[in-house]
Amino acid sequence: MIEQSVLMQLIIILPLLAIPGIIIFGKWPNLREAVTLIAGGLLLIAVIVFYQNFDAGQAAYIHWIELLPGLDIAFKAEPLGVLFSMVAGSLWLVTSVYAIGYMRGHGEVNQTRFYACFAVAISAVMGLAFADNLFTLFIFYEVLTLSTYPLVTHAGTEKAKQGGRTYLSILLATSIGFLLLAIVGTWWQTGTLTFTQGGVFDDSTSKVATSVLLVLFIFGIGKAAIMPFHRWLPAAMVAPTPVSALLHAVAVVKAGVFTVLKVCVYIFGIDLLRDIPATQWLLYLAAASVLLASLVAMRQDNLKKRLAYSTVSQLGYITIGALLASQAGILGGALHIVAHAFGKITLFFCAGAIMVAAHKTEISDMRGLGKAMPITMIAFFIGSLSIIGLPPAAGVWSKWYLLMGTLDTHQWIVMSVLMVSSLLNIAYLLPIPLRAFFPGAGPQGADFRENAKVIRIERAQIKEAPWPSLVALSITAIMTMVLFFWPHVFYELAASLAGLSGGING
């Protein structure tokens, strides 16, 4: 068997190794996509093998170089990182399959650049997942921002450039303006940036200093999309749908909340976190973010925009989980990374499939689509259930533990926000598949029916999306249900993270 530490490096480098192949075969799309698929398949195998041999007691550790005195680029496997790498690693392959159908169906240009940047982004995610210290994490965090920028502006239109500008400026402004400052501040206070069980701060650091640092961290991790720094996520929706699906529902945003969890558990430690006065306020801020984003999502007619705001809201759940500073909260937050990833990627896949097959982006146009695209709409229904937190979908478990966390810590306001938000989720997600299958008369009465006739004529020609896309979205939908019945793999990882974090029992 390969040494664990070697395997870990391989996981980080593997997507990069695909890039020369992607560029060389740029002129032959079939070979080029084959390279991506092979790399995706190998990566999936690698993360699974890595998980099977993973032992939290003797975690793999590898030290690359010492960049500045005391600042290392080093990697270490720990439960949350393994969990994240499994989510991102398994979904890369599925997304690649989906992308082939989508990009060709949509006739996109510059596909070589697209696949190459995608591979860099995945590599950055893996590096981030296994980072042993804040410094390494920061490096990959920035690589992720920069490598996804060309994907956001892929179309090259004025709108895409505008979106790219918002995307880059918010992410870089928060990461350089706040996160870097927080990291230097932590380094200056403690002299270490290594993720340590129980946190790195000792009693010599004043509460004021830790409060300021915590605020800087939470705002600085712009990828977690806490309001008011969430604007980049809707802006990023100009990207091709596979990008929105994997990167802006899974990899990039999850990198954000992953960082929040890491910082809360391994830099502050949840015992300290509970005592910091700022935590309470940040908790309310995250709760407000959950609620407001849900409300905004209800008003969006563009499907991708609605999903984006829904993501902002769901990311707030994970931040809440981290800031609750209890074992159940951490457990719920970590599980929600997984549950939301599978659920939301399904929804995005469906949105893209509808766009390719029916050329529809607005929700109000999607009435009655269920007949033409039954598989897509059923998958959408399952994905919605997971986001809402209803059985039989994976979202149940994470929401369950998050609520437990609020009960443990007596955060009644936060608890009611979570409940209300779930109701809002029902209100903005479920009508879409329901209306697709049961179009009914529609609210606008006669006027609408006339329109409907026109649309119906077109609809006769609508078929399901290209088969690779269909396969991909079926897989993720099925996975969402599988994770409801067999959540053990991820549950154990999340539980061991919660166990490592110490603190009161859930």
Partner: protein, 492 residues
């Protein structure tokens, strides 16, 4: 031979300059200049090794001992900067052939190399000498040579730019001369080491204060500290590309060296920072420079001018680090000296290649270049990322130390401002990226070819150096920390 290295450092380019005139033939001159510069580079490496093994080198010119004769004095700081100047100069000369052939007439080419060598002589002289008046002399040599080089630009505006620089530069040099004169009046010596010993006795006199003020203002003019930077943008924008590379990467750095040398080794840290409000002035001007120049850079359409303003902003960072007045702050300044030379060297060399093919550095001309000149544009992007301070580039290393220094001194509001300043860099760099990669090429022009290999190679050497020294920071950080420590030791 080996003991004459300090003077050889200056003599090699000085003698090479008139020989160029004799050789005349442009191609011959080009290789000759390159060899002279490469020799100077080797010389500087040997010097650094010697300093590292034996400590500070003192060399008496013509066998006359200081303080009667002129002393050349090489310590780590000098050696560090000598390497910087000679290496950048050599790389720039590697690319000079094709670029100059395109931009100058053949007759002018030879003169350009002569001016270039004289400028190099001047800069190396400033670095090597231990004599205050000698500093002034070499400063004038380098300045006169650079006025000449700038005036050779393709555009008639180059003449105006050169004239502007001439006036401002002469004012600066006069101020420096007045400062040195007053120092001489009070102490009767021009040797820096001697000055350092005698100045404390007369420290509290108005004359010494005046001398210091004149000197610092003069040097700040030469190093283009905001608001004395007005000469710089035009000079960089309209000079021949190779002259821009060389001056942007080295000339201001040498001026900063002079400032450091006089503050720390001659007047002493105590005098400069306690008796005079130098700290407040430097920090305020440094910060204002960062913001004012970055904001102006955002609105530039001429990309060379844009990066020239960015240089003014980066000088602001260096001065800010100095203004913190701590060892970490000085380390940040010294790191940024080196790192900024790498960034701007790479960027301006890439622009030289771009001018060679496209003939214009207007932002509009960049449309679609991302595809047509991938290597050149990639070089500009990496240089730009380094300017912003993205991790794994050199820019990050210097920014890290600067922010750390500011936090150590509990100046966190300024640390925030510094980071905001680097976000302004994102804006001006990204304007270029957007045009080059996401705007379609103009219809009426045939696609441009990639820049010639002779320009591309040195560009990419510098680009890779940007990344290499961003990852393996042992050389730069180690040396900077050592120098900072020794300067503070001398100062106490």
């Amino acid at each position: 031979m080996i003991e004459h290295l300090p003077i050889l450092q200056v003599i090699i380019p000085l003698l090479a300059a008139p020989i160029c005139l004799i050789l005349r033939e442009a191609r011959l001159v080009r290789w000759f200049t390159f060899i002279a510069s490469a020799l100077a580079f080797v010389n500087s490496i040997l010097l650094l090794q010697q300093v590292q093994t034996q400590g500070t080198i003192s060399y008496s010119l013509g066998g006359w001992d200081a303080p009667i004769g002129i002393e050349y004095r090489i310590d780590l700081l000098n050696a560090y900067l000598l390497i910087l100047v000679t290496s950048i100069s050599t790389l720039a000369l590697l690319a000079a052939g094709p670029s100059l052939r395109k931009e100058l007439s053949e007759r002018k080419e030879t003169y350009f190399y002569v001016a270039y060598l004289l400028c190099l002589t001047g800069l190396l002289g400033i670095l090597a000498t231990g004599d205050a008046f000698n500093v002034f002399v070499f400063l004038e040599i380098s300045s006169l040579a650079s006025y000449t080089m700038i005036a050779m630009g393709r555009d008639r505006r180059a003449l105006w730019a050169s004239y502007q620089y001439l006036i401002m530069g002469t004012i600066g040099a006069t101020f420096i001369l007045i400062g040195i004169g007053l120092m001489y009046m009070m102490t009767g010596t021009l040797n820096m080491y001697d000055l350092a010993e005698r100045l404390p006795e007369v420290q509290q006199t108005k004359t010494v204060f005046t001398a210091f003020a004149f000197f610092v203002v003069g040097v700040c003019l030469k190093l283009a500290l905001f608001p004395l930077h007005l000469w710089l943008p035009n000079a960089y924008a309209y000079a021949p590309s190779i002259a821009t590379v060389f001056l942007a990467a080295t000339a201001t750095k040498v001026a900063i060296y002079v400032l450091l040398r006089f503050i720390f080794s001659v007047y002493g840290f105590e005098f400069s920072f306690s008796h005079l409000p130098l700290q407040e002035i430097l920090v305020a001007l440094g910060l204002m420079g960062v913001f004012a120049a970055s904001i102006v850079a955002i609105y530039q359409d001429n990309v060379k001018r844009l990066f020239a303003y960015s240089s003014v902003a980066q000088i602001g960072y260096m001065i800010l680090g100095l203004g913190v007045g701590s060892k970490t702050g000085l380390t940040a300044t010294l790191l940024h000296l080196f790192n900024h030379a790498l960034m701007k060297g790479a960027i301006f060399l890439a622009l030289a290649g771009l001018i060679y093919r496209v003939g214009s550095v207007n932002l509009k001309a960049f449309s679609g270049l991302g595809k047509q000149m991938p290597w050149t544009m990639a070089a500009i992007v990496v240089g730009g990322l380094s300017l912003i301070g993205v991790p794994l580039t050199v820019g990050f290393v210097s920014k890290w130390y600067l922010v750390l220094a500011l936090l150590e001194s509990n100046w966190w509001p300024i640390a925030v401002l510094v980071l905001i300043g680097s976000l302004l860099a994102v804006i001006y760099v990204w304007r270029i990226v957007e045009v080059a990669y996401f705007r379609k090429a103009m219809q009426d022009s045939a696609p441009y070819k990639e820049a010639p290999l002779m320009i591309l190679i040195p560009t990419w050497i510098l680009v890779l150096a940007n990344i290499y020294f961003g990852i393996d920071t042992g050389f730069t950080v180690g040396l900077s920390e050592q120098i900072a420590a020794s300067l503070f030791e001398v100062a106490k």
